[in-house]
C-alpha cells in the first residue's frame, strides 16, 4: 500500500498519536543487565520525556521499542493491545519511528529525494512532478517549513534535524522517538524544533517520546516524565508536579545541587597568566567540500587561561579544531605551539603536552572496534611502561594497558567497568568519559576542547567542567570551542566570537557583553 496516502490522511482527525506502555522490560548484554524490569507509560498525544544518567539504559529502552534489539523479558502495549515488537519492521507497522542522535541523511541529495528514499518502496520510474506535488501537500500538512529542492549538505543542523523528523512523519508515524535530539542544535534551533513537535502533540496528532539531559527542555515541553537509574525505573510523574531538584535526585539516587549560572568572574583571574602556548596566525583551511572555511584567523592562548570560542555552528570552528588536532591540512597560515612550528606529530604532542577532547569522540578520538583499554592507550602505547623489549620493534604490554585502564575507569566512573569491552558498546556519555580520562591523565600543557558536554548528563557535565577548571588552574592553556554560550561564559577567561572563519569579537569574560556576543555570532557585529 502506498504510504503516501497514509501521510496525506495524516491531517485527518482519525489519525491520533499512539499510547504506548512498556511492561517490565528486561534487556541483557551478556552478563550485564542494561534494563531490569522497567515499566513506562506514555499517554496518547502527550510529550513524554525519558531522563537518566549516562548509561542508565535510555537508548536501550527505546531501541527495544523500535525493535532494534528485542528485550529478553517483558513487552510493549500499543493503544492498549499487547504487541510483539521483534524487528524494526514490526515497529514500522505499528507506526512507531525513531530519530537517532546522529543524522542518517544522504548529504548529496535534495530534501525531496531524501524523503522519497525513506519510503523504501519506490517504483522503477519516479514521476517527479506528481511526487513533488504530493510532497508539497504533505509538507503543508505539517508545521515544518523546508525547501524541497535544497541539498541536504547545505542545510544547517537544525534543518537537518527537521528533515529527520519529517522523514518519520512522512512514514505516517504516530509515536515519534527522539534520542537526544537537541544535542547537535543551538538553543534557538532546539526551541523551534521542539516547539513545533509540541504543537503537533497539542493537536493530538502525534505522541512524542524524547530522551534528553536538559531539564530546561523537559520543563518547557514535557507532559510526563520517566526516570531511569542504572537500568531500573527510578520514578515517573507529571512534569508540572515534579521539581527539577526532585528529578535530578531520582536520576542520581541522592540529593544534589543543580548548579547554574556563572561560577567565575574576572575577580578571581588575578593569578598569573603565563606565556603564549598556542599561537595561530593567518590560518586558512578549507572544509570537506573544498570551500574556504577558516579565513585568516589569528588567535593565541596563554598558559593558565581558558579561551572560549563562541559562534554559530558552521563558521569554521570545526575546521579550526581539526587543523589543531592534525586531522586537516591548513591551506595557509601558521600554528605555533610553545614557539615551535606545529605539525601535530606525535613527538610534538608529547614534547609540548598537547591533548584534545574533540566533539563526537567515537568518530574523532576512538577506534570503535577496539577495547576501552586499548583506546585509553592511544596516546602512550608506544612508550614505557606499555611498550618495551629489544630492538626498536617494541612489544606491547597489554597487561599494563589493561591495569592502567582499570584505574582510569575507576577514577572517571566509566561504566561498565570492564576494560575489555569494545568502546563502541559504551553509552555515549561513557565514551566521552573514557576519552576524557585518557586526555587528562598526562601532563597537560595545551588542551583543545570542542563541545565537551554534548550528550552528557548534568553530573557528568559538572565533573568535566570541574576538570577543565582544574587543568587551567594547574597552568594548562585551554582552547574551548562550544556552541553553548552559557558554558563559555561560565568557564572562559577570555571569549572570542568566530564568524565566517575569522575572530570577529574578543573580550575578557568578566567584561563580555552578552548582547554584543550575540550580535557578532549572528554576523551583525558592525
Amino acid at each position: 500500500m502506498d504510504p503516501l496516502t497514509h501521510s496525506l490522511t495524516a491531517a485527518d482527525l482519525q489519525h491520533r498519536g499512539a499510547a504506548v506502555e512498556a511492561f517490565r522490560v528486561t534487556k541483557r548484554f551478556g552478563a550485564f543487565t542494561a534494563l531490569d524490569a522497567v515499566s513506562m507509560k506514555v499517554e496518547a498525544g502527550s510529550f513524554h520525556c525519558l531522563l537518566g544518567e549516562n548509561g542508565a539504559g535510555k537508548s536501550t529502552l527505546v531501541k527495544c521499542l523500535v525493535g532494534y534489539h528485542p528485550p529478553e523479558e517483558g513487552g510493549f502495549m500499543v493503544d492498549g493491545r499487547e504487541h510483539d515488537i521483534r524487528s524494526p519492521r514490526d515497529a514500522q507497522r505499528l507506526r512507531i519511528g525513531m530519530v537517532y542522535q546522529h543524522f542518517t541523511l544522504a548529504p548529496g541529495m535534495t530534501v525531496a529525494e531524501n524523503l522519497l528514499l525513506a519510503r523504501g518502496d519506490l517504483p522503477l520510474r519516479i514521476d517527479w512532478r506528481h511526487e513533488k506535488a504530493a510532497l508539497a501537500a504533505f509538507l503543508d500538512s505539517t508545521p515544518f517549513r523546508l525547501d524541497l529542492n535544497a541539498l541536504v549538505a547545505d542545510l544547517a543542523a537544525g534543518e537537518k534535524q527537521k528533515l529527520e523528523i519529517l522523514k518519520q512523519l512522512y512514514l505516517g508515524q504516530r509515536l515519534l522517538i527522539l534520542d537526544e535530539p537537541t544535542s547537535v542544535l543551538t538553543p534557538g534551533e532546539a526551541d523551534e524544533v521542539l516547539g513545533l513537535l509540541h504543537g503537533m502533540t497539542r493537536d493530538g496528532r502525534l505522541t512524542v517520546l524524547m530522551i534528553s539531559h536538559k531539564f530546561r527542555e523537559v520543563s518547557a515541553y514535557g507532559d510526563g516524565v520517566t526516570i531511569l537509574r542504572r537500568g531500573k525505573l527510578a520514578g515517573s510523574g507529571r512534569v508540572g508536579e515534579l521539581s527539577t531538584a526532585e528529578m535530578a535526585e531520582m536520576m542520581v539516587g541522592s540529593s544534589v545541587a543543580v548548579s547554574s549560572g556563572r561560577r567565575r568572574c574576572a575577580a578571581d583571574q588575578t593569578q598569573a597568566i603565563g606565556e603564549i602556548r598556542l599561537d595561530v596566525e593567518g590560518l586558512h583551511a578549507d572544509n570537506d567540500r573544498g570551500t574556504p572555511s577558516v579565513r585568516g584567523l589569528d588567535l593565541s592562548v596563554r598558559a593558565g587561561e581558558i579561551v572560549g570560542v563562541a559562534g554559530v555552528a558552521g563558521n569554521g570552528q570545526k575546521e579550526l579544531v581539526e587543523v589543531l588536532l592534525g586531522q586537516r591540512q591548513a591551506s595557509a597560515g601558521q600554528v605555533r605551539v610553545a614557539g615551535e612550528d606545529y605539525q601535530a606529530s606525535r613527538a610534538q604532542m608529547r614534547r609540548h603536552g598537547v591533548f584534545s577532547l574533540p566533539e563526537e569522540p567515537l568518530r574523532n578520538a576512538c577506534v570503535p572496534a577496539m577495547s576501552v583499554a586499548e583506546n585509553m592507550g592511544l596516546r602512550d602505547f608506544d612508550i614505557a611502561p606499555y611498550a618495551g623489549g629489544w630492538l626498536s620493534l617494541g612489544f606491547l604490554r597489554r597487561r599494563a594497558l589493561s591495569r592502567r585502564a582499570k584505574a582510569l575507569i575507576e577514577a572517571f566512573g566509566v561504566r561498565p567497568d570492564d576494560p575489555a569491552t569494545a568502546i563502541e558498546n559504551l553509552s555515549g556519555g561513557n565514551v566521552q568519559r573514557a576519552v576524557l580520562a585518557r586526555e587528562l591523565s598526562g601532563p597537560v600543557k595545551l588542551l583543545v576542547v570542542a563541545n565537551p558536554v554534548f550528550g552528557l548528563d548534568f553530573a557528568a557535565t559538572e565533573a568535566i567542567h570541574r576538570r577543565l577548571d582544574q587543568a587551567r588552574n594547574e597552568g594548562a592553556a585551554i582552547l574551548l570551542v562550544s556552541e553553548d554560550l552559557d558554558e563559555l561564559l561560565e568557564l572562559s577567561d577570555r571569549i572570542v566570537v568566530m564568524s565566517e572563519g575569522v575572530i570577529a569579537y574578543e573580550a575578557l569574560a568578566g567584561q563580555a557583553d552578552v548582547a554584543a556576543i550575540g550580535r557578532y555570532m549572528a554576523g551583525h557585529g558592525h
Binding site: E180, S345, R350
Partner: protein, 344 residues
C-alpha cells in the same frame, strides 16, 4: 560453557559458509547431471584423502599463505588490496634474474638475495597502490588490481623478450636455475621448504600484528584514521609499511615458486595464487594465524581438481566455481553476522 561459546562464535559463520558453498556446488553440479555427492566426496578425498593428496594440498597452501598476507596486512591498515597476483609476478621476475649473476656461489646467499629481491619488488608494487591512495586519494582496490594487470603484462613481456632463455622453445621461460640453487623438499615429505616459510611468516606476522607497537599502530590507522591522526601517528608511513610487508610476502611467494617449483620464471607460475589469496584472507578474517588453516582448506580445493577431472570428468574450472561460491557465501554470512546500524 560461555567460554566455549565465545571461542566458537567466530567459526560459526565460517562453518555455515563452508556448508552453504558445498550445497551450492552440489546443486550446480546436479543441475548439469554430474553426480553431486560423489563430487563432494572426491573433493575431500583429493584434498586430504592420501599422503599424496596432502602433499599436493600443502604445496598449494604454501604460496597461498603468503599471498593471503598481501590482503591481510593492508586490511589491518584499512586498505582493501586485491592485486597480490601482480606482486607475485614482479617478485618472481626479480628473483629469477638474481641467479644469473651468481654463478658458482653457494646456495644460501643466492637464496637470501633472491628472497630479498622478490620481497622488495613485491613490496614496492603494493606500496605504490598505498602511496597513490594516501597522497592522491586514488582507490587502492582498483589501483592494485590495475597494477596487477600491469605486473602480469610486464612479466610476460620480459619473459618472452629480453629475459627469455633461447633454449625454451614452446614454453617461454627465463634461464633455468642451476640444480644447486633449487630449493628442495623438507625432510620426510615431498613438500618444498616454501611451506615452512609460509607458516613461519604467518606466525611472525600474527605476533607482529597483535603484540608489537607497530602492529597496534597499524590497527589504529585501520580502525579509525581520524583517531590515528589525532594521536599524531604517521598515518601515511604506517599504511605504506603495512602494504610493503604484505606485497613483500606475495613477492616472496613468487620467489618460492621460481626456486622451489618451476625452476625459472614462466607463465605457468601465474596460476592465480594471488587471487585465491584474497579468498584465504577474507575466510581468515585477515588474521595471520587463521590464514594458515584457511590456506590449507583452499589449497585442498585446488588440489582436488585433477581427481575430479579423472574420475567424473569435471572440467578444471569446477574447483574455481567451488572457490568462488565459498567466497560469496563467506561475505554473505559475514554481513549477516554484523549489525547494520551503529549504536547511538
Amino acid at each position: 560453557m560461555n567460554a566455549v561459546r565465545s571461542l566458537a562464535a567466530p567459526f560459526l559463520p565460517f562453518s555455515a559458509a563452508v556448508l552453504a558453498a558445498a550445497l551450492l556446488f552440489a546443486l550446480f553440479l546436479a543441475a548439469q547431471g554430474f553426480p553431486a555427492l560423489e563430487a563432494l566426496e572426491l573433493v575431500v578425498e583429493g584434498a586430504y584423502g592420501s599422503s599424496f593428496a596432502w602433499q599436493n594440498t600443502l604445496s598449494r597452501a604454501a604460496p597461498l599463505m603468503l599471498t593471503a598476507l598481501c590482503v591481510a596486512l593492508p586490511a589491518r591498515a584499512g586498505l582493501v588490496i586485491i592485486g597480490g597476483e601482480g606482486a607475485l609476478a614482479v617478485g618472481a621476475l626479480a628473483a629469477a634474474v638474481v641467479p644469473a649473476a651468481c654463478a658458482g656461489w653457494p646456495a644460501l646467499p643466492v637464496h637470501l638475495l633472491m628472497a630479498a629481491a622478490g620481497f622488495i619488488a613485491g613490496g614496492a608494487w603494493i606500496a605504490l597502490s598505498a602511496w597513490l591512495r594516501h597522497a592522491r586519494g586514488i582507490n587502492e582496490t582498483i589501483s592494485s588490481l590495475l597494477l596487477a594487470y600491469i605486473g602480469i603484462a610486464l612479466f610476460n613481456f620480459l619473459v618472452e623478450g629480453v629475459l627469455r632463455d633461447p633454449a625454451s622453445l614452446n614454453k617461454p621461460s627465463t634461464t633455468p636455475l642451476a640444480e644447486s640453487f633449487l630449493i628442495g623438499a623438507m625432510p620426510g615429505m615431498e613438500v618444498h621448504w616454501g611451506l615452512f616459510w609460509g607458516v613461519l611468516i604467518c606466525l611472525v606476522m600474527g605476533f607482529v600484528v597483535r603484540q608489537t607497537v607497530f602492529g597496534f599502530a597499524v590497527g589504529v590507522v585501520g580502525g579509525n584514521p581520524r583517531a590515528a591522526m589525532m594521536a599524531g601517528l604517521p598515518v601515511g608511513g604506517l599504511i605504506l609499511a603495512a602494504c610493503f610487508l604484505g606485497g613483500g610476502a606475495a613477492g616472496l611467494a613468487g620467489m618460492l615458486e621460481v626456486a622451489a617449483v618451476h625452476g625459472s620464471a614462466n607463465a605457468a607460475l601465474l596460476a592465480g595464487y594471488g587471487y585465491a589469496g584474497i579468498l584465504v584472507s577474507f575466510a581468515a578474517r585477515h588474521n595471520p594465524l587463521g590464514i594458515i588453516a584457511c590456506a590449507i582448506l583452499v589449497g585442498g580445493i585446488g588440489a582436488s581438481g585433477s581427481l575430479l577431472q579423472r574420475r567424473i570428468d569435471l572440467p578444471d574450472a569446477a574447483t574455481l566455481v567451488l572457490q568462488g561460491g565459498l567466497f560469496v557465501a563467506l561475505l554473505a554470512f559475514e554481513t549477516l553476522n554484523r549489525k547494520g546500524v551503529r549504536r547511538v
